[in-house]
């Protein structure tokens, strides 16, 4: 008889609706292990901010301190007196040239490989082999690619592509050979990005194209490639970034001459066959590790490199933030 009493009491006067307590964000109630984890996490985050901020600020200060407009317009000269050793016009041109050569080679091969891997894929075993091959290139150190390039391009039948010493010895060093090896380091990025773009296109788009009588080749050319253009562009820009930033291939395959050296008298081609330097090798050679002892110019050139990287990053951001076509989703 007494049991229902409390029930009746509660139904008679319902307790006030539970107060919404403020979510307790404070970590002070957490177990000790979790608090240690949290503090480690914050420590890592703060260290990251400090290091990244430090690097960027330091480079910016040094860059602004040492960068002069005249550096862009003067050729470097081997001079002990640093006020006379010129600027980095030639390395800058060299960077542009080598990036152009590398991208021009890597772009068609990379896109073709990606399309074949994604759309045709037969025979299956071969496709799998190509896939792992691309993965292997992506992991291969660029020094190894560089000295592999030396083996290939020192063969006498490739002599027309590079510098030759007296007595018909092929040196294998030129903008062309360095650019060709640079293409290999840009290739995996282009392939990967293009494949990711192709995989995002749903199958019904391909089927729609077949159903109106287009062949597979026409579908690829008119439908698939145009709609994954942003992905291809992203891969290409990332590849260009890798080419611009690589030093080992330049140091080994381009030689160490400061100025552009042309070979032969065909304009354009002669420069491609000649040797030179790029911004990265300019930085390397002007640092205490190289011969030229002029850290100021190395800092200035490194700052320019950093600006180029910023610009490329911005380009990638612009490309990837553009909206995909409606029908892709």
């Amino acid at each position: 008889m007494t049991a229902p009493e409390p029930l009746a009491a509660t139904s008679a006067s319902p307790p006030p609706a539970p107060q919404r307590t403020k979510p307790r964000e404070s970590a002070s109630t957490w177990p000790l292990v979790d608090r240690i984890g949290l503090s480690l996490c914050w420590a890592a985050g703060i260290a990251l901010c400090l290091v990244m901020g430090g690097i960027l600020a330091y480079m910016a200060v040094r860059g602004v301190q040492y960068l002069r407009p005249s550096l862009f317009f003067e050729s470097p000269t081997p001079e002990q007196d640093q006020s006379k050793s010129g600027g980095f016009l030639d390395p800058l041109l060299g960077t542009v040239l080598i990036t152009a050569v590398g991208t021009l080679i890597a772009f068609p091969i990379g896109v073709a490989t990606a399309v074949w891997l994604n759309e045709y894929r037969r025979p299956w075993g071969l496709a799998r082999a190509v896939e792992s091959g691309v993965e292997v290139v992506a992991g291969t150190p660029s020094v190894v690619l560089a000295i592999f390039g030396l083996i290939i391009f020192q063969q006498s039948y490739f002599g027309f592509l590079s510098l030759t010493a007296e007595g018909d010895a092929v040196l294998g060093r030129s903008f062309f050979t360095a650019g060709a090896m640079m293409a290999l380091i840009a290739l995996p990025l282009i392939v990967g990005s293009t494949r990711a773009g192709l995989q995002q296109i749903p199958d019904h788009v391909r089927e729609a194209s077949y159903s109106v009588g287009k062949t597979k080749a026409a579908t690829i050319r008119r439908v698939l490639l145009p709609s994954c253009r942003p992905a291809i562009a992203t891969g290409t820009v990332l590849g260009m970034g890798r080419i611009i930033g690589d030093t080992a291939i330049v140091v080994i395959l381009l030689g160490a001459s400061l100025q552009l050296q042309s070979v032969g008298d065909v304009p354009g081609l002669s420069t491609l066959k000649g040797s030179g330097s790029t911004l990265t090798s300019y930085v390397f050679n002007n640092s205490p590790a190289g011969e030229g002892q002029s850290p100021e110019k190395a800092y200035a050139a490194a700052f320019v490199l950093l600006l180029v990287v910023v610009a490329l990053n911005y380009a990638v951001n612009r490309i990837t933030s553009r909206e995909a076509p409606q029908w892709i989703r």
């Binding site: 260290a47 990244m52 045709y120 992991g139 062949t215 590790a289």
Partner: protein, 340 residues
């Protein structure tokens, strides 16, 4: 697969289409196979070039003994007669240097980047978060020579002034000279170099963890740290492995930066020396290749250098396959199952 039902008069045209389709497939396939052929060619060429060095030394190639820099000089100066070429080399200090720098940087970097990625995704104030992500991507793209420049001009003098006292110099003066460029600086700069890549990859993956999982855990009263640590980080394990593999490949192949800051001396740092161990110079394989670039035309030294390249190549191929295998093994826990 395209299948055609050409109607009446369109038959001829359709046939033409099929033929051009086959041509396109052949062309694309040929370009893809060109890539494959180049890679196989690379492996074959590098190993053929490297063979004399391996075969002259046998397994002792990988062993210890003597001063590796002296051996390299002797190889460079060996007589011009092919029968009298000197090949003797004990490459252990270089291999050990490679393992120390790469292993050290990847271990430190892995712990650090997982923590930093959790920080960026979960704990950072929103404004900081929005600032950090592009900066991380930017730093991932900075050329290694820039890191090397900062290392050699800023960090090395700093270490020389702060840590290398006269007593410390004297304690090892009969073995090696200490001048600031050292194992510690190499590992430090290498870590700074590979961390942004790992963070960028891990952050992307942590963002892709389904919200239901983390919210479900949070609704059960699990705190934020534990949600991240036990749910999100576990879910992205395959991606962490992939990031570590990528970082290892980059660290292994880093040549220019390491040749600038590691001291460029074929010396095996000795752990018995205590703290001084960290301040001793070393030189990894890749840096050795760059440092000896002028000697490539001398036949025996060239072959020795290709042997270094062959070791690097094998390691990187092995790494790619190990990464692929690990991703497969972990596929059952993956939210990124198809990514590999």
């Amino acid at each position: 697969m395209a299948s055609y039902a050409p109607a009446g008069g369109a038959l001829a045209q359709a046939r033409k289409g099929v033929r051009s389709d086959q041509r396109a497939e052949l062309l694309l396939g040929a370009l893809a196979c060109l890539v494959l052929a180049l890679i196989l060619g690379m492996i074959v060429f590098v190993f053929t070039k490297a063979w004399p060095s391996f075969s002259a030394n046998g397994l002792a190639w990988f062993g210890t003994g003597g001063d590796v820099d002296q051996q390299l000089t002797d190889i460079f100066n060996s007589p011009a007669n092919p029968k009298a070429y000197v090949y003797e080399l004990r490459a252990w200090p270089l291999l050990y240097g490679t393992a120390l720098t790469t292993g050290g940087a990847v271990l430190v970097g892995l712990v650090f980047s997982v923590l930093a990625a959790i920080f960026i995704v979960e704990f950072a104030p929103e404004r900081l978060q929005r600032l950090l992500e592009p900066v991380v991507l930017l730093l991932a793209a900075v050329p290694s020579v820039v890191y090397g420049l900062i290392g050699i001009l800023v960090v090395v003098p700093l270490v020389r002034d702060a840590f290398i006292s006269e007593e410390r110099k004297e304690s090892v003066q009969f073995v090696v000279q200490l001048d600031g460029s050292s194992l510690a600086v190499a590992v430090l700069i290498l870590t700074v170099m590979i961390v942004p890549i790992m963070i960028a990859i891990i952050v992307d993956a942590l963002r892709a963890v389904p919200r239901q999982w983390t919210e479900g855990a949070a609704a059960l009263g699990v705190n934020r740290w534990r949600v991240m640590w036990t749910i999100s980080v576990r879910a992205v394990r395959p991606v962490i492995v992939a990031a570590a593999v990528l970082a290892t490949a980059r660290a292994l192949g880093e040549a220019i930066m390491l040749s600038m800051v590691s001291g460029s001396k074929g010396f095996a740092p000795n752990p018995i020396d205590g703290i001084t161990f960290l301040l001793e110079p070393t030189r990894p394989l890749a840096a050795t290749i760059v440092d000896n670039r002028e000697g490539l035309s001398a036949v025996p030294l060239g072959q020795t250098i290709y042997a270094f390249a062959a070791v690097l190549l094998i390691s990187s191929v092995f790494l790619s396959f190990a990464g692929w295998y690990m991703k497969r093994r972990l596929r059952h826990v993956a939210i990124y199952g198809g990514a590999g």
